[in-house]
Point group: C2
Chain length 347, copies 2
DNA sequence: GTGAAAGCGCTAACAG
DNA sequence: CTGTTAGCGCTTTCAC
């Protein structure tokens, strides 16, 4: 299990370390003969440079900016901060500087502004949630031409292939919700797919989840379920939902495609529809309370903490150890009930 | 965001790098005065040595042995190999040598033998599944007195506190199974907790799961479920199970505490009890098939791949970057159904 | 007690 | 085109 060094190879090839280095990095200025000789050796030995030595040389402080919606406006984003802090802690001995910047989730202007701030900081990489697709493509190009690496998490810029992404397969997560709903609701009943849409940014999110949910039910044999779609905003939720429930009989479940399942439960509990099953997304404290009380049957966890932690780790390990940044990392679709909840909160 | 080096500190304190080093590592031979001066600076600056530089010096090849039951005997262990290979790949550029050794899960002798082989190899650390508790304590002491770091995964040596562990909270996983069962079976029905015990090594495993399962049902209000325990070995499973089902009416679900849920389903499918719900453990290919066919409702995933990968990573990062090895890492209790299955297989 | 110096593996600058 | 050299931050050895 001998590890070969550049020096070993130089000796074996009868050349100097400098020449070997030039071959490794294809810097040219090497004779055909020497090039071939060294290259052959490198392959035989399956040489990998020592990443420690390499980055020791390179005593640069890498700056990574994380751009995400303000967690004070929507607590869904809070765990992201925890993920960032975990990464900070993990890499505290290394030369990395992680900065966090927020924008307002319902203002494209604020999105622009924040990203311009980031551009001014000239970081080495930026990890962002591209909530607004058009604006994101614009800003992505600006970053690229400034030589800044762009990674995304949670939301994907659908049109741009080249940008790395950490997040969840939303279509599939809709299917997971459907499967769970199928197991806990009676046959011949109706299910509401409820989009609580405050800001209209989540449109594509919600559509993918709905598609997955509906496709699941379409595919089951002898399907006697009916799925109904309800699009509301938070303000008229109560009237709209109650009306909807009154208008349709045999409604046994509601699948909430955003993290606002607790809003739905709040309303159900004051009504005659207490027994309608609810499945929603995300471990917000309000949702957790209802999960523990069995007012929410399941939550699908999008692992926001893991998303940021992983996104940052990929970038840092790229800088420090020359690792490749995966193009797409789809996280598991996590099913949470009242009993396995705690095992996701501690981590 | 300046990173201070040993040289900076030496200059600031008006001493040499050597003295600073002696203070950092408490090697003594430093005057009271110099010691205090340097120490004060170190604290003010919150100095952390550059782990790259440190381990660059230390050009030692670390050897880690992984000891686990033979995956050819029980395919539950197969993913562990994948986890090991992932770690190998990840750290291929570093100076680590990972060796894998198997033992036979139903022979304490083979366990001893394998561990003696490992002792002879004089590794820096060993990651093992302590299937047999008495023998494990013995061997753990041998390793310790040989100065070999011991970590465990999947099974825990209950009596030894000092050994690090990566795995699952089995009591809680029993509760998770119970909660799921509760949601998919009708009231006033009976549930079988089925231990399929070939080798009697899993006794403590199974007991913890059973305890969790039963406790859950005890705690629910107006409990009208009955839980029944069935202990069988694989050979008499068929007769025992069918007899049991015939003797008791209203059985609606079976919770299988080992990875052999597929054995139960095989039997149910040839019987009049096709509609009995089954919940089991582990993503064996046989279980996966039945999960996809809805013959198994849920599987609880113990993440064997993650267990080994994490266990090895902790050890390597300890050696390379001086990170602390967590005393206990309890992995999430993963609920798997036919729809989120794929998101756990790829990872 | 202390400082100076060599060297870990790699890169980059500089002579030749 | 090629070899030599200095130096990244830290540890270790050796002389004073």
């Amino acid at each position: 299990m001998k590890k070969y060094t550049i020096k070993d190879i130089a000796e074996l090839a009868g050349v100097s370390k400098g020449t070997v280095d030039r071959v490794i990095h294809k810097r040219g200025k090497v004779s055909q003969k020497a090039f071939e000789k060294v290259n052959k050796l490198l392959e035989e030995i399956d040489y990998h440079p020592n990443p420690m030595a390499r980055s020791l040389k390179n005593n640069k402080v890498y700056m990574i900016c994380v751009v995400l919606p303000n967690p004070e406006e929507d607590s869904f984003w809070e765990p992201c901060i925890a993920g960032i802090n975990q990464a900070k802690e993990e890499f505290k001995s290394f030369l990395v500087d992680i900065k966090v910047l927020h924008y307002s989730a319902n203002s494209t202007e604020s999105f622009h502004e924040t990203n311009n701030k980031v551009l001014a900081l000239k970081p080495d990489a930026v990890l962002l949630t591209p909530l607004f697709s058009k604006e994101s493509i614009l800003i992505e190009n600006k970053y690229k031409s400034a030589g800044i690496i762009v990674s995304t998490f949670n939301n994907r810029i659908d049109l741009v292939q080249s940008v790395s992404f950490v997040g969840q397969d939303l279509y599939q997560s809709g299917r997971v919700g459907a499967k769970l709903m199928h197991m806990i609701t009676p046959e011949k009943s109706k299910i509401i797919i409820c989009h609580i849409d405050e800001t209209f940014n989540n449109a594509s999110h919600m559509q993918k989840k709905e598609k997955g949910f509906k496709d699941y039910f379409k595919e089951i044999e002898n399907n006697d379920y009916t799925t109904l779609t309800l699009i509301v905003n938070k303000d008229n939720l109560k009237t709209a939902l109650i009306n909807f429930l009154n208008e349709h009989d045999r409604i046994s479940g509601i699948f909430v495609t955003t993290s606002k399942a607790y809003n739905v439960v709040d309303i159900l509990q004051d009504s005659e529809y207490k027994n309608v099953k609810v499945i929603g997304y995300d471990l917000l404290s309000e949702n957790i309370n209802f999960l523990k009380q069995n007012a929410i049957s399941f939550l699908i966890h999008q692992s926001p903490k893991t998303q940021t932690h992983l996104g940052i780790s990929y970038l840092i390990e790229h800088f420090l150890f020359n690792k490749e940044i995966p193009n797409e990392k789809l996280l598991p679709i996590v099913i949470v009930n009242a009993e396995n909840l705690s095992t996701y909160l501690e981590h």
